[in-house]
Amino acid sequence: MGNALRFSRRSVLKTMTAVGGLGALGAGMPWTSALAKDLVIGFIYVGPRDDYGYNQAHAEGAAAVKAMPGVKVLEEEKVPETVDVEKTMESMINLDGASLLFPTSFGYFDPHMLKEAKKHSDLTFLHCGGLWTPGKHPANTGSYFGYIDEAQYLSGIVAAYSSKTKKLGFIAAKPIPQVLRNINSFTLGARSVDPTITTAVIFTGDWSMPVKEAEAANSLIDQGADVVTCHVDSPKVIVETAEKRGVFCTGYHASQATLAPKGYLTGAEWNWAKVYTDYVKMAQGGVKIPNLVRGGLKEGIIKTSPYGAAVSDAARKHADSVKATFMDGSFVIYKGPIKDNKGNSVIAAGKEHGQTDIALESMNWLVEGVVGSLA
């Protein structure tokens, strides 16, 4: 028995070092928490915050909040729409003392954010996507969203002036109402300049599919499209592909101008900086935060990228004049008669759907001039 265990000196030393290491783990350094009076705000992103797209737009908004006095901003990226986001919210609350949370991805709302909001009824949860319904959702939750299709309409106008082939390309994630509205507004904008223009659309099936997006861009360009745009989480590869192939592009979510210095015409961007700083000012001032915030160019929630060098004066003038009518609230995109791309009348002559019209939020058709189908 005496010789059953024989420790080599080296192994003993190794073990000792390991145990010492564990001790150091526990010791660590104390985390100095934010000053008690600071408002702690958590931003949660579904993808990387430097994606040149959806998440970057939100991160730019968070950066604007960070510059405000009396706040501490927490950020977490690439948080899946699963129990992970619930735990992230709880960690921000329990470990970091957050009292205002912005889960920015659409899929965070139900059931994840609603579950956390019920657990923490004294904290505020604001969600990007515009789903809040009075009576149905807790009072400490809210949602905000913008009519970004207004900027897509302007992009369509600029695209129409720049296209020689009269064929535009649109790479879209999923055939859901939000996306269809952008495709239709872009096409309506382009066809307001030249009714012979068509927009070919390709659905990739998911929000972030860089390889498919590049293939789709190449395929659209091969088919003759000389301006491409998109509605996916990160327009990066699409814009880069367009630049490489020597065609024009318009951006989405954030500015991709630096990725395509030659071909970037303009883009539809979120202006979350305004929305977030407004919210934080309300929270700091003790003002009741509205449960539903909506708006477009007029309200400053949407902006357009500065025109690229390739945009002609005529295009600038036309787009600016339409933009002015968006700014004074007099412009209506969805004004009948409008037909879908199968020839059915979808909005009768004389009928108008303003931006706030809820009917537009269940859009399930592609407008005349779009080459593509939903199924």
């Binding site: 028995m1 010789n3 059953a4 265990l5 024989r6 420790f7 080599s8 192994s11 190794k14 073990t15 390991a18 290491g21 150091a24 783990l25 526990g26 010791a27 660590g28 350094m29 985390w31 958590g42 990387p48 927490l74 950020e75 977490e76 990226e77 690439k78 948080v79 899946p80 729409e81 699963t82 129990v83 992970d84 735990k87 992230t88 709880e90 960690s91 921000m92 329990n94 470990l95 970091d96 659409f106 899929g107 059931p111 996507g129 999923k174 055939p175 859901i176 109402p177 939000q178 099936g205 998911d206 939020e361 269940s362 199924a375």
Partner: protein, 360 residues
């Protein structure tokens, strides 16, 4: 006595090597973060605090570990037969879809019945997918790694098609999903905890898998196939049946994970089911050296890494990818340390001599 000491020494050795590998990974990761100008000690402290430092952190870790135990079994079980299956993601997604469809179809039926049916549907869907991989391997000689990977893409496409088409809840406009499960059919948390019952199911399945593989004739036969399929066939073992049954069981485990995701987390099936639990499960299984029991602590370790990742991002501004870097380092170091297994002899085994020899 010597026998017991030897077994103990073998167990200790089996633990010391991966333990040392883990510490080495921590050191490498510390060097990595130091390169980007972050204090490694602070990183370690935050990782500990985020994963295991408080009751809240433990619950966070365990919640994340729950699906990983089940998806890891999807790789660990077939590994006993020498198969490398990486299709847990597909089985999870199909299992979730089947469970949601069943739960919605049986709306109004007694809770126990619906829960049972959802569990069975989820397991059956996962079993069909991975069992199919086993069958393809046995009957057509199709490489099971490739087919399970490719079938995962097909499974995800099927799920997307169903939730955007035939099974779509018309109210789910911008996030196509199946109709939501009634509140009564959802799995609640464990008593006194914020961790759902999926964890218990996972642990039970892992223990059952271990018993099956190391304490039954079936398991013995399966491991014999893993050791040498030809010899197993010569010995008259039903290789094909063992293969298909084991792969089906593996798929059932991942399918059950999908059912738990639907019933405990999402309340419906949609694209959020594709969250990477299947692929992390593959990693967990390999690090557990395909031992179903070891899957439990390794899954908890990975749950902890996931749980602490958020804190690293928030407190130190490290990108999310830093967690992936850490997982990658652990994976490589642990695989490399496999080579050390058996070479580093910490405890020399006592020779076990026949009684007669001892007296002499």
């Amino acid at each position: 006595m010597d026998r017991i000491m030897n077994a103990l020494a073998a167990l200790l050795t089996a633990l010391v090597v991966p333990g040392a590998a883990l510490l080495a990974s921590l050191a490498l990761f510390g060097a990595f973060v130091a390169l980007v100008g972050v204090n490694p000690l602070e990183v370690y402290e935050l990782m500990y605090r985020g994963a295991f430092g408080s009751w809240f952190s433990w619950q966070n870790t365990l919640t994340r570990a729950a699906p990983l135990i089940l998806t890891a079994l999807c790789t660990a079980l077939p590994a006993q037969l020498g198969l490398v299956i990486i299709g847990g993601e597909g089985a999870l997604v199909l299992g979730g879809l089947a469970a949601a469809a069943t739960g919605v179809a049986l709306d109004g039926a007694p809770v126990a019945l619906v829960m049972g049916a959802m569990g069975l549907a989820g397991m059956a869907a996962g079993a069909a997918l991975i069992g199919g991989v086993g069958a393809l391997r046995h009957r057509r000689g199709v490489n099971e790694t490739i087919s399970s990977l490719l079938l995962t893409y097909i499974a995800i496409a099927v799920m997307n098609h169903m939730v955007e088409g035939p099974l779509k809840d018309p109210a789910s406009l911008n996030k196509p999903s199946t109709a939501p499960l009634a509140e009564a059919y959802q799995i609640g948390p464990l008593p006194g905890m914020d961790v759902h019952w999926g964890l218990v199911l996972g642990v039970l399945c892992a223990v059952a898998a271990w018993v099956l593989m190391s304490r039954t004739v079936f398991g013995f036969a399966a491991r014999m196939v893993g050791g040498n399929p030809r010899a197993a066939r010569m010995a008259g073992l039903p290789v094909g049946r063992l293969l298909i049954v084991t792969t089906a069981l593996a798929g059932a485990a991942a399918g059950l994970a999908g059912m738990v995701e639907v019933a405990a987390v999402h309340g419906r099936a949609n694209a959020a089911l594709v969250a990477g639990y299947g692929s992390t499960g593959v990693l967990v299984a390999f690090l557990a050296r395909q031992n179903p029991l070891a899957v439990i602590p390794v899954a908890i370790l990975f749950g902890g890494i996931g749980a602490s990742g958020g804190l690293l991002q928030r407190r130190l501004g490290l990108p999310d990818a830093s967690v992936l870097v850490f997982q990658g380092i652990i994976f490589v170091v642990l695989l490399a340390s496999e080579a050390m297994q058996g070479r580093v002899r910490l405890f020399a085994p006592a020779p076990i001599l026949p009684a007669a020899a001892k007296e002499a």
